[in-house]
Symmetry: C2
Subunit: 212 residues, 2 copies
DNA sequence: TTGCATCCTGACCGTATGGTCAGCTTTCAG
DNA sequence: CTGAAAGCTGACCATACGGTCAGGATGCAA
C-alpha cells in the first residue's frame, strides 16, 4: 500500500491499520458469523500478524463490537432521509434509495447487523432500546401525521417501517440467493435500479400515496 | 418424558431421540450460528450425553445439514399455496398467510435458513440451483400470466417474490428487534393478525390486484 | 432363555483458537 | 541526538471443542 509513502506518521498508521482490520473483520464476520470467524483469518485478510490485531483490539468481542457499531452509524445516517421530506412519496422514496444503496455498498455490514439482531442483539441491545426506539417512535409520528393529512392510507406505521427494512435489507442478507436465482451473476446496475423502482412503486401505491 | 412408557420400542427410541436432537440443534444453531453452536450445548438442551449425539449424527455438519433440510421442506410445502390459486389476491394472500405462520411457529428454523443463505448456502447450494430455481421459475410464470390477464399491474415477478420473502421472513429473523420495539413483549395474536393484514393490503393494492 | 443387534456413555485425544508477553523496531518531541 | 512512547511480532499457553472408542446396558427375535 505504501511504496512511496515511506515515512508514515503515527496517526496515519493507527488510522489505516484500524481501518484495514475493521474492513477485514466485517467481511469475515459476515461470511462466518461471530462464532465461525477467527482472529487468524481476519489478520490474514488484513495483511497483519494476529498479535497485531490484539494490539489494536484487545479481544474478539471488542473488535466485533466496533464493526457492529460502525454499521449502526451508517444505518442511522441513512435514516435521516425521512426527516427532510414533506410527504410520504419523497420521504419513503429517499429512504428506500438510501437503504438499497447500503445493501449494495455494504452487504457485509448489513449481514453482520442482521446476524447480530438474529442472535438477540447481545452487543446492541442497549442501542436498540434507546437510539433505535427513539428513532422509530419519531418516524411513526411522522407517518401518523401523513395519514392525518390524508397523504396516505391509514397503514400501521410500525408494520410499514418493518416492510421498508425487510425489503431493502433482503437484497443484502439474501444476496446470495438472489444471485443464484439470477444465473449466478450479481445484479447489474439496471437490475438494481429496477429493484428499487419496483419496491417504491408497490409500496407507495400500496399505501395510497401515489396520485391516481 | 417417559415415566409411564417404561418399555420403549427401538423404533420409538430412535425417532424420539432424533426428534429431540433436531429440535435442540435448531434452537442452538439459530441462537449461536453454526460456528458458535457446540455439540455440548445441543446435547444438554436435548437432555442427552454428547457422545449420544454422535451416535445419531456422526458430525456437526451432518446434524446441521439435517436441520437445514427440515426447514427447506417446510418452506417448500408452504410454497404450494401459489398453485391452487386462481388469481393474485387468493394466491398471494394464502402465501403470505403460510409464510407468516412459519415465521411465527418456526422462528428458529427461519433463522437457521437465513443464516445458511447469508453465509453463502454452503449446504444448500445445490438445492437452490435446482429445486428453488425451478419453483421460482414456475411462480414467475404464474405471475406473468396474471399480469397478461390484467389481474395485476406489470410488476417484475422476481422482485415481487423477493418482497414477499423479505416481508414475511423479517418477522422471524428480526423478531428480536420487533419485540424490543414492542416494549420487550412478543407480538400478540392480534398484532400478528394486523401484521399479516397490513402486508397483504399494501402489497395487493401496490400491485394493483385489489378492486378499486 | 439366549444370543445378538441396537443403544448408550464416561473417559479420552488431537487440534484450533483466543489471548499473552518479552523484547524488538520505529517515530518523534524536546 | 536521545530517550521515551508507540508500534510490532514470533513464540508460547490454557482452554474448549469435535470427535473417538471400549465396553456396558437394553430390547427383541427365535
Amino acid at each position: 500500500m505504501s511504496e512511496l509513502t515511506r515515512p508514515m506518521r503515527r496517526q496515519d498508521i493507527r488510522r489505516e491499520n484500524e481501518k484495514a482490520i475493521l474492513l477485514a473483520a466485517e467481511k469475515v464476520f459476515a461470511e462466518a458469523g461471530f462464532g465461525g470467524a477467527t482472529m487468524q483469518l481476519i489478520a490474514d485478510l488484513a495483511g497483519l500478524p494476529k498479535a497485531n490485531l490484539h494490539y489494536y483490539f484487545a479481544t474478539k468481542e471488542e473488535l466485533y463490537r466496533s464493526v457492529v457499531q460502525n454499521i449502526f452509524e451508517i444505518w442511522l445516517q441513512a435514516a435521516n432521509c425521512f426527516d427532510v421530506a414533506r410527504g410520504p412519496v419523497d420521504g419513503i422514496s429517499a429512504y428506500i434509495d438510501a437503504k438499497m444503496e447500503i445493501s449494495r455498498r455494504h452487504p457485509d455490514g448489513s449481514k453482520v447487523w442482521a446476524s447480530e439482531v438474529m442472535h438477540g442483539a447481545p452487543v446492541l441491545q442497549d442501542y436498540m432500546e434507546s437510539t433505535l426506539r427513539e428513532w422509530t417512535d419519531g418516524r411513526v409520528e411522522i407517518i401518523r401525521r401523513w395519514i392525518e393529512e390524508g397523504q396516505m392510507d391509514p397503514v400501521d406505521p410500525r408494520h410499514l417501517l418493518y416492510m421498508l427494512w425487510a425489503t431493502t435489507q433482503h437484497y443484502a442478507d439474501f444476496g446470495h440467493q438472489i444471485e443464484t436465482l439470477n444465473g449466478g451473476k450479481s445484479l447489474s446496475d439496471r437490475q438494481w435500479r429496477e429493484a428499487k423502482e419496483n419496491i417504491k412503486r408497490v409500496i407507495l401505491k400500496g399505501i395510497g400515496a401515489l396520485p391516481a
